[in-house]
Amino acid sequence: MPLIEVTNLRKTYGEHVAVDDVSFHVEQGEIFGILGTNGAGKTTTVECLQGLRTPDSGSISVLGLDPKADHTALRQRLGSQLQESRLPEKLKVHEALDLYASFYTNPADPADLLAKLGLTGQRNKYFGKLSGGQKQRVSIALALIGRPEVAVLDELTTGLDPHARRDTWKLVEAVRETGVTVLLVTHFMDEAERLCDRLAIFDAGRVVAAGTPLELRDRTGKTTLDDAFVTLTGRD
């Protein structure tokens, strides 16, 4: 049984159909990518998975749980890093981790997690004083502090410089090594190609293709995921 199963998901905001008949599944231990341009319905889909939004129709199962009905149980097991979510400027790194650790029944050791993410030197720094890459690493740390089985990482490397992006990618791979299933939301083709075992390409609220990066390139006869994406989303 897949770890995450989304079937015929639909979500509208008034007249606007954000997600239309989306289905995909994620297997245990993989890095699964949700790839698409802005407004393709990626974040709405993920928010339904996290139980932050109620789907209009369709079904979602995460770790065998319904994100809405079983949200309390699910939140102990699902870690999230949200797009455009900050922390208070004057919150110290270790205070953020200590606080979030207190929310979970079996949290990771904050000091240990900071060491793994290369943040030990920043533990007493204010969040507002960190570089973009460091802030993202704190954000990943908070997503992992509850020892989740699934981690949702939304637009993880947006706004980071090339070095910080590559460092962050290594971290995501290291997270997967520890057995955590990763759901990666991104609009970067190179990121998806480098990290994802499988991915679903979203366009205008629908999944237009799903498979491994290699399969998607082969299917379209293109040499890069970038070109394959353009073909699959019909804007060639």
């Binding site: 949200l82 922390l87 208070p88 929310f103």
Partner: protein, 244 residues
Amino acid sequence: MNTLAKITLTETKLALRSPTWVISGLVLPAALLLGLGAIPAIRTESEKTPGMRFLDAWVPSMVVLTIAMMGLQSIPAVIAAYREQGILRRFATTPVHPAKLLVAQLIINVTVTIAGVGLLILLGSVVFDIPGPRHPLGFLLAFVLGTTAIFGFGLIAASVAKTGRAAGGIAMIAYLPIMFFGGVYLPRPLLPEVVQKIGAYVPPGVKAMEDAWTGTGAQPLQLAVLAAFAVGSCVAAAKLFRWE
């Protein structure tokens, strides 16, 4: 330690690291009291305030200032900024409901309000010999109802605003008249009679506090109006509030 205590402790540290609001609620009213009290003319009985010194009649307005600072400036700015920055949403993905963050902020802001008013009463009594409220229970009731009403207004502003800055702007719609009718800008004895009369019923109920402090006690009608404002504003805030 339970999560609410942990969140409140963390939020308290944050409030003390950016102490604008704590200073506005705690230090500013007390400093105004000391500054104005230093002027001899204000410490004498005036024909506008028969039977008491001008200063004594003006202390309830400093209480209004304290409540308005915390309820209509601090709370809307902090809560709306937390929503704007995605902090409430971030909480919603953890096992802890973001309501706990809201409760922690209310605890902190109400505590500063109480401390601010306590400081005013203490300084008034020690430095200027202003007697404490003659009817403590009535004063307490007016203070609790008035504070609830004002904080409710603040939460309405925090609910409808998209950003912390916008929340401050929206709260001004209530803040300015409340400060005016509360006699903060111009002492109430100098205001036209009709303004004084309206002011008796505008939250946080400066007249009810005056009457409980130096007069014959807060009037039931004043307290009833304050209670209606308190219930109305809190119900409206609860209906309007959005977590994201």
